[in-house]
Amino acid sequence: MRTKRLDANGLSVGVVTGFTLFLLKRVVGSILVLVAISMILMGIIQFMPGDAVDMLLRGISPDAVNPEVREALRRDLGLDLPVWHQYWNWISGLAQGDFGQSYTLKVPVGPIIFSRLASSLILAVPAIIFMIVLGIGLGVLAALSANSPLDGAIQLISLVAIAMPAFLVGSLFLYVFAVKLHWIPAAFNAVDISLFNTWETITFFFTALIFPCLTIAAETVAHVLRQTRASMVEEMKLNYVRAALLRGLPQGYVIFNHVLRNALLPAITVIAINVGYVLGGVIVVEFVFSYPGIGNLMLTAILTRDIPTMLGTMLVISAGYVLANFVADILYSILNPRIRLS
């Protein structure tokens, strides 16, 4: 927000107001965090027992491998360089959109990551929407009917949902909808969505894709729900709520316009954390459903010691999480006037 200010001589002086500055600081902060993450990831890789080269050559008998060939291979992959040099190569490549080459598949990693990412997002985005809508909605509902049977039921269900590991939920869905009803395909990667028309896509979504989606959402909805309920209940006890109601303002109005924005603040933090979980928890869910997403890609990369892919997927997932936190920070400051002004 630029406001025109006049200095002593009547000349206008552009002023960048506090909020823009705040925004800039957050952006820079997030970038720094990502950089730190990338360094840490690289650092961890260095401790990997066994050589990447060994993995690559696994199929071939060790005797048959000439030490010189190994050295050549190492040089090829850039593994003989000191750490910071490897790091620099990686980072500068990233800046140009080059994620490096997969060790195992011998193709650029970038495109694979992003196509898999797209598949994962098909699951993740609706899951996040579910999480926010159901989590906040049910949380508010539970808070408003606190201590009633409805509240008790909601609380019980969310308690169980939190405790259920993702693979359990997924397995349950699979049991019912794959085995018994044959709705979910045995192998998702056999299905090519681009071939569907709109109606078929929607059907496919609601009969098949929705299950991994719900699996991811289940636990996160419960977390958001509990936090929303708790902070709503606490907020409703505060003096200003009573004062507003005693001014004759309708209850619904007070809740939506006065209470909610304060009560949601802690919920935003929880939502951000859970977005990270969604981006990551996709791994287990994708594993259970054999879904070709970024999670499975990372798993495979780990098992095959495909370093560029590992790093790439991990970085992308972390970036998503950092982005979610950034958005949460901004939202938080918009909703809380006290933070914005300081």
Partner: protein, 679 residues
């Protein structure tokens, strides 16, 4: 006969608890006619707030109506539909709640909060008509910086401004009845005076009936016509204000009035009368008169049954069998027997224990440098009680913490018993640490919730006294008894004690070290009047028997005046006036002292108080690097530009006293006293 605006008819109300407890309000019957003002006075736990909320049918979480009803303009509240009830609240009946800071929605702008009420109570829609109405509301409460205030969030306003916004919110739909729940707690005394005046004016102009809920008998006089004294949910006395204050008849009312220090109490050394004990435990209510367990007049008849409300004079009703005699008796009822002793002039030694020279405490904040304490000089003598009076932002807390060693001042000197301890902070010599102790304001936070009382008192004894370990317990019990507690409290935790009891433990802890100086930072501000008196007596006794000096910091001038030998008045980090108590109470006054005295509520009958008109304070921050007098922008006696450009000189005619003002000695001498006795 016109219908009363508000009528309670035999209203009995309880909170459902496990195990069941006695009702909070018992057969309460009162009424307020149109345009009338009624004050309800009671201590915490008396049920007065519950009463106020019930007038708008707010039962609280576990509240339950047992009997009786409440009628607003003749209509039983129970008969209202939810929609009608909503229209009533904030429309016909409006409340100004307690604690302005937490009663405004923190994330909604003030302007919007005003518009909302109009939106839901009138037919106005957003537009010029509504804007006009909102502006008019702000004008009504003397908030003139309308643009800024409308756009502000509540936390950006000062306490006084927030309170006025709440009044505006209540008055904006011109209610028939205005309920004020402790409207001045948490506010500065001068702000309090102006707000009360404001309410009085609004009441006259709009003919609104007013129900004032308070524990402060002093403000009752200001604009109420009638007063009701509530004890444990029952009316014990009711009548016209003048009559009740001059001729109280119920022992409780008398006790309450006596607990408040009289205007000349500092001239006679005597313990303040207290009311022994506390409100009856709801789990074990006495049979018979509820006040009997605490009453100095109690007789067997009192336990037989609850007395009826008897009329003892015109419109004056009392619930006590001794009412008639008490009304005309001047007997000072007290659980503390004492004979008055005139204060000896040389009771205080000349030996200077603590000298503060040019003390300054500065903070860096995002708004610039804040001078919390800005060049303060004073002395405290051995065995003396030095009172420091000032409102919020005057720097008294920073001053206290500097002397205590909790912060190191930015400049100046603190000399204790000829030792310069300024820079030492908490590293001061061990014996200095022992000899300077502190009692804090909030008893809830000054005792560790995880320590028993015994453990709490053990540590200072262990560290500071020479007593052998086997005698520790005896010493602890001795200390407890000196603050009117006993061995029962040894194994209790703080949350099992009342506020007054906790504060006594804090004092015992301070005295355990056998100090020479105890700094008390607002020690009685969070306590009820009857409990307050007991604490003040304790401090004075300590001064008498052990020659302990006290620095007593408070915003309540009446309390400070009662207990102090000398007083220092602070404003925004600087001293305005200093001197003995007698000097301070009589003219010449510093204009700020004059305003403080004029704003202090007086309960005593037979005393006239001159009114002083003081504008609201304009800024929240403490004093800056101003070249002149910091009080200049509010001073009713402002001389001229000199007040803003030059530091005021010291006009005091007394040794050891100060009076910093640009007014000439002649002008100061011409000031009229604030307090005069009626002939």
């Amino acid at each position: 006969m016109t219908l009363p605006i508000l009528a309670f008819n035999e209203f009995t109300f309880e909170f459902e608890t496990k195990p069941p407890t006695a009702p909070v309000l018992r057969k309460l019957t009162l009424s307020i006619g149109p345009g009338e003002t009624l004050a309800v006075v009671g201590e915490s736990g008396s049920g007065k707030s519950t009463m106020a909320y019930n007038a708008m049918r707010d039962l609280g979480v576990t509240g339950r109506l047992i009997n009786g009803n409440i009628e607003v303009s003749g209509i039983d509240l129970v008969d209202l539909t939810p929609g009608e009830l909503r229209k009533l609240r904030g429309g016909q009946v409006a409340m100004v709640p307690q604690d302005p800071m937490t009663s405004l929605s923190p994330s909604v702008r003030v302007g919007r909060q005003l518009e909302e009420v109009l939106f839901f109570h009138s037919s106005l829609k957003r537009g010029p008509a509504m804007d006009e109405a909102v502006l008019a509301a702000l004008q009504m409460v003397e908030l003139h910086e309308t643009e800024r205030i409308l756009r502000s969030y509540p936390h950006e306003l000062s306490g006084g401004q927030q309170q006025r916004v709440l009044i505006a919110l209540a008055m904006i739909s011109k209610p028939d009845l205005l309920i004020l729940d402790e409207p001045t707690t948490g506010l500065d005394v001068t702000t309090e005076a102006r707000i009360l005046e404001l309410i009085g004016r609004i009441q006259k102009e709009y003919g609104t009936a007013v129900l004032l809920i308070t524990h402060n008998l002093g403000i009752v006089r200001q604009f109420s016509q009638r007063v009701i004294v509530l004890y444990a949910g029952d009316i014990v006395e009711s009548g016209p204000v003048k009559e009740i204050l001059e001729n109280p008849a119920h022992p409780y009312t008398k006790g309450l009035l006596n607990c408040i220090p009289q205007i000349d109490s500092h001239l006679i050394e005597m313990d303040l009368p207290t009311i022994a004990g506390g409100l009856p435990d709801r789990n074990a209510m006495p049979s018979g008169c509820l006040f009997a367990p605490r009453c100095p007049l109690v007789s067997d008849q009192c336990h037989a049954g609850i007395p009826e409300l008897k009329q003892v004079a015109e419109a004056h009703h009392v619930r006590c069998i001794f009412a008639e005699e008490q009304r005309v008796s001047n007997q000072r009822l007290s659980s503390v027997s004492s004979t008055p002793v005139p204060v000896a002039a040389d009771a205080v030694e000349d030996d200077v224990l603590l000298a503060v020279e040019g003390l300054a405490v500065r903070y860096e904040t995002e708004f610039g440098v804040v001078h919390a304490v800005d060049g303060v000089d004073f002395q405290c003598r051995r065995g003396e009680v030095l009172g420091i009076v000032g409102e919020s932002g005057c720097g008294k807390s920073s001053l206290a913490r500097s002397i205590a060693g909790l912060l190191v001042p930015s400049s100046g000197r603190i000399i204790f018993d000829q030792q310069d301890i300024t820079r030492d902070g908490l590293q001061r010599p061990a014996d200095v640490r022992r000899r300077i102790q502190m009692v804090f304001q909030n008893p809830e936070h000054s005792l560790n919730p995880q320590h028993t009382i015994e453990k709490c008192l053990l540590r200072p004894i262990k560290l500071f006294s020479q007593i052998a370990p086997e005698n520790y317990r005896d010493r602890i019990i001795e200390l407890l008894e000196s603050v009117k507690l006993n061995s029962y409290h040894l194994n209790r935790y703080p949350h099992e004690l009342s506020g007054g009891e906790r504060q006594r433990v804090a004092i015992a802890r301070a005295l355990a070290a056998e100090p020479d100086l105890v700094i008390c930072d607002e020690p009685v501000s969070s306590l009820d009047v009857s409990v307050q008196a007991g604490i003040l007596n304790l401090l004075q006794e300590s001064q008498r028997t052990d020659r302990v000096a006290f620095i007593f910091i408070s915003h309540d001038l009446n309390v400070v005046r009662h207990i102090s030998n000398r007083i220092v008045v602070m404003y925004r980090g600087r001293i305005c006036e200093a001197g003995t108590t007698a000097e301070l109470l009589s003219p010449p006054y510093h204009p700020y002292t004059e305003a403080l005295l004029g704003a202090t509520p007086i309960v005593q009958s037979g005393i006239l108080k001159r009114k002083v008109n003081l504008p609201y304070s304009t800024s929240k921050a403490a004093g800056g690097e101003s070249e002149g007098c910091l009080f200049a922008d509010r001073c009713p006696h402002k001389v001229g530009l000199i007040c803003e450009s030059e530091l005021p000189p010291d006009r005091s005619l007394h040794t050891g006293g100060h009076l910093f003002c640009h007014l000439s000695n002649d002008q100061l001498g011409a000031m009229e006293p604030i307090f005069t006795r009626t002939p």
